[in-house]
Symmetry: C2
Subunit: 214 residues, 2 copies
Amino acid sequence: MIDRDGLPALSMRTVAAELDRRTMALYRYVEDREELECLVVDLALGGVLDRAVDSAADPAVDPAVDSAVDPVRSAVPSAGPRVRLLALLELMREAVGAHPGVLPLAVRHHGGCPPALRWRERLLEALADAGLDAPRRAAALHALVSYVIGALELEHQAAVAAAPGGASVPETFPLLAAALAARATADPAQAFADGARTVLDGLGLGPGPGPGLG
Amino acid sequence: MIDRDGLPALSMRTVAAELDRRTMALYRYVEDREELECLVVDLALGGVLDRAVDSAADPAVDPAVDSAVDPVRSAVPSAGPRVRLLALLELMREAVGAHPGVLPLAVRHHGGCPPALRWRERLLEALADAGLDAPRRAAALHALVSYVIGALELEHQAAVAAAPGGASVPETFPLLAAALAARATADPAQAFADGARTVLDGLGLGPGPGPGLG
DNA sequence: CCTCGTAGGTGTATGCCGTACGCCAAAACT
DNA sequence: AGTTTTGGCGTACGGCATACACCTACGAGG
């Protein structure tokens, strides 16, 4: 529904209508709108995010094949923590990219959303594999999650504000105008990945051989 | 008003009541609620953010004294781009920290908010002083702004969700529980600054002598 | 001086929204 | 058979943003 009609079109009434029920019937299954939003986030993020978690613990898939192709699906640490982290970050981008309108809800409810919690645990596992101790892991998680949230939020707003014709930055800000113009022509996925690599670099998780600087 | 009664208490009716007017009188000055929100963000961020911009261009203050104390107020580049950038990032944190309830509005409207645009221009100036060319500046701005938005959003949610008693992360996520506990006891300002330094490190703006690696 | 446009304000009304409350049918369990 | 539980319905309330029409006071132009 959000993909079709946008986030403001999500209301108790519209959801009930979609199910051919009469609004108040929803309250048999959900405490209030807040809880319904949580379920929406679960649904939207779960499908994509749990690709990584499920397949890693699922012996039905052949690990010898998959791990060579997709570093996220791999449970073995040979892929390198940096590559795994980068893949997890892009996985989150992919998840919200599949349903862009859900992003405001996802940001507000990610603390109570199981798929998002699983994702963060996976992030911490990769950080532990990289040799970071607990305090550094906490700091690294904070930096990475902050970047992801902010970057997705920026991308979301850029997509929304692009419709009318331009925010028309005054010529008082030449550097900003140039930077925004450059960003408008660039590939969002590339920009996201570049920023993610920057944060990983700052964490000392360079593209080098491995956790050599513990 | 938002500081006193919270963000949901902001409505056309309540604002009009605060001014002893009759709701519809507001529409003489404002197109719609959206525009009022922009004014709120201007007001909330402007006071703190423009400290840096105004004083840098204001010859009334003695630069010899101020620049030695506060690197943000200094127009001379001798303070080092890294220190100036860090100070600008913390300035933004301070601005929204003065009115925490405004953060959702600030995130949504920062694209059309003059103080926020000035702040970004200042960021780009410091990045240029650090020797970054235009494409690198754009990438660096994206990384820094993303981090700031995400970090403030996380801090905001932590402050809100702390009331009931805990989100109670299931014991299925041991690493996450430990990281969240560590984060709960730590100083938010320190955590913000640590993350900011991490991003700056990743951008190659290390604490070294200067822009030596252009 | 008088008129008249307009800035500022009011009152009313519409159509959304979330949701509290109470009633009702069918099904499930005792 | 009776009773509880489950799922659903209708109504109603208060709050929201805002469209529309109306009024009032005031300042400038004739």
